[in-house]
Symmetry: C2
Subunit: 176 residues, 2 copies
């Protein structure tokens, strides 16, 4: 969810600014998590607060992208939410509010995504994709720009383009 | 969790009695869910209430059984909790309270367990085991006594006995 569906970066920048007195620029946090900046570990503590995840904005193109994927695939939303007990209801409500066409049957909150079995996984964390047996797509985020092991999608338009190529490839191999 | 780790039957019997004026006997609900008794569908609505899952008693032998499994295997607790938004925090707290030796990393709340990849699954619902690619163990509950497709474990002592046999079998095949 975070940094793929939900844009958590503005919330981190707000917290950083309120706690440390200035707003980091993109060049400051490019290549890392915002809370890994010097003196900013306290920013991460906000993830444990009820309400932190409740009102995060959607990533650009996510709504259309998820709707399109849901039409063409069995889509599951898998969030490593379990570290943050107080995020569970916020994340559930956020998913139901933004994606009313998805069923709770397709929501998964876990701690460790290595338990997940699927054909594809779109994730911003290389360690999730490294443990995944299917095809992993690395969704670009500031903290993963130096990672080169996985096929990369930079935005939701590229997610859709990837799966359109996959479907075309499958149509062609089915036609042979 | 329910009917394997958490004993939900007394709570259902209490609700039935308070709503319908008498307490069903085991022979009345043997072979089905208590809320499938005539006139009792309202009992199931309580699953949506905050607090319903908070104080369920442990199934007999579950604490020792889970501790033993945790020592010998990578153990994940997978609950189809997602239908019940208000159960998420209750279930998380229940797990942390009763099993402080387990990590949140090994908790999974989902809607559809077909997304789960593991070597074994212990479950009271045949439809979960039917969708599972590993070895399924059917944990006996009133609603599954007429099911014969899966190896059955009647209680936590039998769970442990099953895995002791598995470990012995693996030791012997490793020794050959």
């Amino acid at each position: 969810m975070d940094e793929v569906m939900a844009d958590v970066v503005p919330a981190f920048l707000d917290l950083y600014e309120s706690q440390l007195g200035q707003r980091p620029e993109k060049k400051d946090y490019w290549g890392k998590k915002i809370y890994k900046l010097p003196g900013a570990m306290q920013v991460r503590e906000s993830l444990f607060d009820r309400g932190f995840f409740a009102d995060l904005p959607l990533m650009e193109g996510c709504l259309d992208g998820v709707e399109w994927l849901h039409e063409h695939y069995d889509l599951f939303i898998v969030s490593a939410a379990m570290e943050f007990r107080n995020s569970l209801e916020d994340k559930f409500d956020w998913l139901q509010r933004h994606f009313p066409f998805l069923s709770w049957k397709n929501f998964v909150f876990c701690g460790d995504k290595s338990i997940i079995q699927a054909d594809y996984m779109i994730d911003d964390h290389p360690f999730n994709l490294a443990a995944f047996k299917g095809k992993g797509l690395l969704f670009t985020a500031s903290h993963n720009i130096d990672e080169h092991r996985f096929e990369r999608v930079n935005n939701w338009a590229e997610v859709r383009a990837f799966f359109e190529r996959e479907m075309e490839r499958e149509r062609q191999s089915a036609a042979i």
